[in-house]
């Protein structure tokens, strides 16, 4: 124990030299929690690293393996996601969320039949989580099938008033350029949790894509209130200010076609 701990200094509060708070135990649970926070903040690179740390703590953690594959998917690295899912499935061959994640990777790589097969396998393994349903919707959208709507409903129904699942659903919609539907889901998500800057950011991006320039500006302004350093919001505002005729026509067309 430090022999200076009882000294008093001007301008410092009384707690300054108190013994430290209970040290955080950095185990699998800790890293999984941190990774989830990174995921929710859309910091997928950080999420990937934290899930890797969780795996170092427990190489058999299915949540960490699934999380890594999902981070790679969110980063757009589908080929790497598929390869990593294969590696994960060596350890957990029947894990429904891993199977679903691989289905998404395959679907986005254009291997549509295999994607559907893996999605089926996820359900056969009694996968009934929102992510498994969102993965199904993802695969069906890749296959341009209408049944995707039912899967989205199921996913959102399994997690009522959960902004995170709604946000994930919106991200799937955005990937397939269904901006109008994505905007609808994002509005719901913001009702559930309006303090998440990422929701406003994606809402702004959808509004911009649909040509709702003023609404997009308002959304980006909300982002900057919540996170003044958000570069994407500044960029969004710049884009909203320089919206040309081409973008307005494209937005009008998207609104017209409901995409």
């Amino acid at each position: 124990m430090s022999r200076f701990r009882n000294l008093e200094f001007e301008g410092q509060n009384d707690d300054a030299f108190q013994p430290q708070q209970e040290e955080v135990i950095k185990n699998e649970v800790y890293y999984l929690g941190e990774a989830q926070s990174a995921f929710e903040a859309a910091d997928f690179e950080l999420g990937l690293r934290l899930y890797a740390r969780a795996l170092e703590e427990n190489p058999k953690s299915p949540a960490a393996w699934t999380g890594q594959v999902r981070m790679l998917l969110e980063l757009g690295e589908f080929r790497e996601a598929k390869a990593w899912a294969d590696k994960a499935l060596e350890t957990h061959p029947n894990h429904p969320e891993l199977l679903a994640a691989k289905a998404v990777a395959l679907g986005r790589l254009g291997d549509l039949d295999e994607a559907l097969a893996f999605s089926d396998a996820a359900f056969e393994e009694r996968g009934n989580s929102p992510f498994v349903w969102l993965a199904r919707a993802d695969v069906l959208l890749a296959r341009k099938e209408q049944r995707a709507e039912y899967c989205f409903e199921k996913a959102l129904g399994l997690a009522p008033r959960d902004w995170f699942v709604a946000w994930l659903a919106a991200r799937v919609r955005i990937y397939y350029e269904q901006f109008a539907q994505a905007l609808k889901v994002l509005r719901q998500a913001i009702e559930f949790e309006s303090a998440r800057f990422m929701l406003w950011l994606q809402r702004g991006e959808c509004e911009l894509a649909l040509g709702h320039v003023d609404a997009a500006r308002a959304s980006f302004a909300q982002v900057l209130q919540l996170n003044p350093l958000c570069e994407a919001a500044h960029e969004g505002l710049r884009q909203a200010s320089s919206t040309g005729l081409g973008r307005r026509i494209a937005g009008f067309w998207r609104r017209l076609t409901g995409s």
């Binding site: 690179e45 990937l48 690293r49 899930y51 890797a52 740390r53 795996l55 170092e56 190489p59 960490a64 890594q68 790679l72 980063l75 757009g76 690295e77 080929r79 790497e80 390869a83 990593w84 590696k87 790589l109 254009g110």
Partner: protein, 294 residues
């Protein structure tokens, strides 16, 4: 940000991932799932086998032969370039192309083995013809038009920088130019050909012939064979003054010296349009251009 030392950090997309994805998208659009390769070698290895002569033998488990051929081909090709325009150069280049063709036929040998003998022969010919038509001829065209080309002149073969632009020509620059066929001096007739000589004077320069020298704008230059001993001329616009180096191919008995000088003088104004190239002063071991004082 990669964490290469972490055992559970996944391999990340390489820097060329966008190009890779575009390639896969193109394949998907054409509904080709995988580009077939002979002997199921990788696509990268197959492409390398196509472009690197001899490497096919390495790929098909003949590493010693393959390594030797990979080493020999650049030597043959370099020798072919060094002797470019000469028969021995053609021989070396021919050997290099043959080696490349052999390598390609060996590369596709797993496919050829599945064919009957006549088809195999035809396919081999097609491979060689394809190599020449689609690789070496375009390469030759490109280099001969843009980089260098051998030209056989009346004084021998010379490698030139192909240009028809007169801008780079100064007094003393050696040029390869077309000579114009002419007749009208009785029995003497000049045939068309390609000549190689230095430019002695530029358009507008005054050339004065004396018994001791040829004077260009007041500067004495050594006389050359069959130059007039008196008189002067102004080099016309769009021409250079180049003293011709004609190869006499017939008996000149009975032709007087004045006629010969007149013929030579008539050939000495070379139009810009006749320029075929500017020779490299040195081409590998060959000294091509003599120093000429302007």
């Amino acid at each position: 940000m990669p964490e290469p030392n972490r055992p559970y950090y996944p391999p990340r997309a390489p820097w060329y991932a966008p190009a890779r994805e575009a390639g896969y998208a193109a394949l998907a659009a054409t509904r080709v799932q995988k580009i077939p390769t002979p002997g199921n070698i990788g696509l990268g290895a197959f492409v390398l086998g196509l472009f690197l002569p001899g490497f096919a033998f390495v790929l098909h488990r003949r590493p010693k032969i393959g390594t030797a051929l990979v080493a020999i081909w650049p030597i043959l090709f370099t020798l072919g370039l060094a002797f470019l325009g000469e028969s021995v150069g053609n021989l070396f280049l021919g050997l290099a192309i043959s080696l490349h063709a052999t390598s390609i036929v060996h590369l596709i040998s797993p496919w050829l083995r599945e064919l009957g003998a006549p088809q195999r022969i035809l396919a081999s010919f097609a491979a060689v013809a394809g190599l020449i038509v689609f690789a070496y001829l375009p390469l030759q065209e490109l280099t001969y038009h843009k980089l260098f080309t051998p030209i056989v002149t009346d004084q021998g073969s010379v490698v030139v920088r192909p240009t028809r632009n007169p801008e780079g020509v100064r007094r003393g620059t050696w040029i390869v130019h077309q000579t114009t066929g002419r007749s009208g001096w009785g029995v003497v007739r000049v045939h068309e050909g390609i000549s190689f000589a230095p430019v002695l004077a530029l358009p507008g320069d005054t050339v004065v012939f004396t018994r001791a020298a040829v004077r260009v704008n007041g500067t004495d230059l050594p006389r050359q064979n069959d130059m007039p001993t008196e008189g002067s001329m102004v080099v016309p616009e769009g021409h250079w003054f180049v003293w011709p180096r004609l190869h006499v191919a017939v008996n000149t008995a009975g032709v007087d010296a004045e006629t010969v000088r007149g013929v030579m003088l008539s050939q000495s104004s070379v139009p810009f349009a006749n320029l075929r190239g500017i020779p490299f002063s040195r081409w590998f071991h060959r000294q091509q251009v003599l120093t000429t004082s302007p």
